[in-house]
């Protein structure tokens, strides 16, 4: 169908507005991180740095222990992604391939756990960790985040496995494969892209978390990226160029992951959340 030129002008105009609206905060963040400490306090602010400098980044990495925070965040988020996908593969396969009593109820129950607000859980969970001597450990944090990302992972993985024809399982059974063999050797390789998308989603949820890290970690050496950045603001006079450098670092990984895998992610995400 052909549209008149005026309609196209409106469409691209609207897209341009969206472009500016979406990117302005990113622009401001990146620009400010390359300003000197002095220049970041000027009013009115310069829209582009008079002098490009990476001093904020150098300070961030070398002085504020951000290398450590970065490492901690990587450990926590990667473990969460791997663990919740691993457990999720089993449950996803169970929901996709078996027809047992209470299957729908259980699936809905899994879905319902996602509606529980974190503030309800984090207090008692904190108490549990102190009882088991796991307060202030990364493993305690990983365990918590895995359970939060798990229901979503199960639903996503189940959705991907549903797209694999059941005949493959039947053929494997005829060949004498056990259920476990079928799952790992036949089904998992076929849903690998979906599995990657699931892992990335879990990784991102975990990477962006503040609440759980705030309540479960007190040792400065075990802080995650998000926790470290927020502590920076409260500590002393606000050095915005440094903080913006820190926020750039904390946003780079999620943004890159989304952009690299956006097709898989969007597809998998919408399949899990909405299925006609």
């Amino acid at each position: 169908m052909r549209k008149p030129a005026s309609v196209w002008i409106f469409i691209y105009g609207a897209l341009a507005v969206m472009f500016v609206y979406n990117l302005l905060p990113f622009f401001w963040m990146v620009i400010s991180s390359f300003k000197s400490e002095m220049e970041a306090t000027l009013f009115p602010a310069t829209l582009l740095p008079d002098v490009f400098t990476t001093e904020a980044y150098e300070k961030m990495w070398l002085q504020e222990g951000f290398l450590l925070y970065f490492k901690n965040s990587l450990i926590v988020s990667l473990s969460t992604a791997v663990l919740s996908s691993l457990v999720g593969i089993f449950a996803g396969y169970g929901f996709s391939r078996f027809r047992f009593r209470g299957r729908l109820t259980l699936m809905t129950l899994f879905l319902a756990t996602q509606m529980i607000p974190g503030v309800l859980l984090v207090g008692p969970y904190f108490k549990m960790l102190t009882i088991f001597n796991m307060y202030d450990t990364l493993s305690g944090l990983i365990l918590a985040q895995t359970s939060i990302t798990l229901p979503f992972s199960v639903w996503m993985i189940k959705g991907y496995m549903d797209t694999v024809p059941i005949e493959i399982d039947q053929a494997a059974e005829v060949d004498g494969a056990s259920r476990l063999q079928t799952m790992f050797l036949c089904i998992v390789p076929l849903v690998l892209p979906g599995l990657v998308a699931t892992m990335i989603f879990a990784f991102l949820l975990s990477w962006g978390d503040l609440l759980w890290a705030l309540c479960l970690i007190s040792d400065p050496n075990k802080q995650t990226m998000t926790l470290g950045v927020t502590q920076l603001v409260g500590q002393f006079r606000v050095f915005w160029s440094e903080i913006m450098a820190a926020t750039v670092i904390a946003s780079v990984i999620p943004a890159t992951l989304y952009l690299l895998l956006q097709r898989y992610l969007v597809q998998g995400f919408t399949e899990a959340a909405v299925k006609e």
């Binding site: 979406n22 879905l111 984090v122 927020t230």
Partner: protein, 285 residues
């Protein structure tokens, strides 16, 4: 196949984890709110809930949460629908527009809170600087220092950050509408607006409800952005329930009080999510 009972075994590890790490704490929180767990002398009392009903700070936070979620979710659906409609057209460089459209959502909410806090900063912030440079304002406005403006600023920031989520769901819905329906409408002589009204909207209803429910739950649970942007201030003006519950529990150690607040929030969210859960039981998602 005859080994359907094995399904339980496959689900068991996930089930146990959820019971232990989500189920148990949820029950414990309810018990704590009634002063029945992890206290020296357990005694059933609804004192925490009675106190809640008379606590102006709690009532203010409740009102703030309702207002915040209403405004933010409506704006997400409105902006999300607009951008989804744009992205569903035959535009050039589609992938580029799509990438840009998703970008705000990739920013963790804590980080978003910090960036917007700096944008609204009284002196070196970009908002005041732009207002001054364009001559719209002659003196800097204390955005985050004034209660009404601070609340609006936080809502604006979260409207920006969260809308791609609703957009993605609506876009998936738009792409699922069969082309034949539009062609039939054209044959009947429908205008573009009529097509939107009579073909797009009815087809999108299902997705709209899903986006509405899921986004409402996400936004009600929001914590990091408000924590890092205003910390609930000035005064209680931007205080939302999650933040207040966290403060009561972890900063003032009013355990049963903080737990009771979280229970109230969880109960409300449960009822909001009922339509979504019902869809799941009917296998419509």
């Amino acid at each position: 196949m005859r080994d359907n009972y094995k399904g339980y075994l496959f689900i068991l590890p996930a089930f146990l984890m959820l019971v232990l790490i989500l189920g148990f704490p949820a029950v414990a929180a309810v018990l704590q709110s009634f002063n029945l767990m992890w206290v020296s002398k357990p005694a059933f009392t609804v004192g925490a809930y009675q106190a809640l009903a008379q606590d102006p700070e709690f009532l203010r936070s409740l009102l703030n949460t309702v207002l915040f979620v209403t405004v933010v979710v409506s704006s997400h659906l409105a902006i999300g629908l607009g951008v989804a409609l744009l992205l569903n057209m035959d535009i050039r460089f589609k992938w580029l527009w799509r990438v840009v459209a998703i970008l705000p959502w990739t920013m963790p909410d804590v980080i978003g809170g910090l960036v917007w806090r700096f944008m609204f900063d009284t002196l070196p912030g970009i908002v005041n600087s732009l207002l001054l440079r364009t001559g719209l304002s002659t003196e800097p406005i204390d955005w985050l220092g004034r209660p009404d403006l601070a609340f609006a600023a936080v809502m604006l920031a979260e409207s920006w950050r969260g809308y791609p989520y609703a957009m993605l769901i609506l876009l998936a819905g738009l792409q699922a509408i069969p082309r034949q329906q539009y062609e039939a409408a054209e044959l009947d002589g429908c205008s573009a607006f009529q097509k939107f009204l009579y073909v797009t909207m009815p087809n999108l209803k299902h997705m709209f409800i899903i986006a509405l429910v899921l986004d409402t739950i996400w936004e009600s649970r929001l914590f990091g952005m408000v924590y890092s942007m205003t910390g609930g201030g000035p005064g209680y003006s931007t205080q939302i329930l999650t933040l207040l519950s966290y403060k009561q529990y972890f900063q003032f150690f009013n355990i049963s009080y903080g737990a009771a607040m979280a229970v109230v929030l969880a109960t409300v969210l449960f009822f909001i999510s009922l339509p979504y859960l019902r869809m799941s039981m009917r296998q419509r998602i």
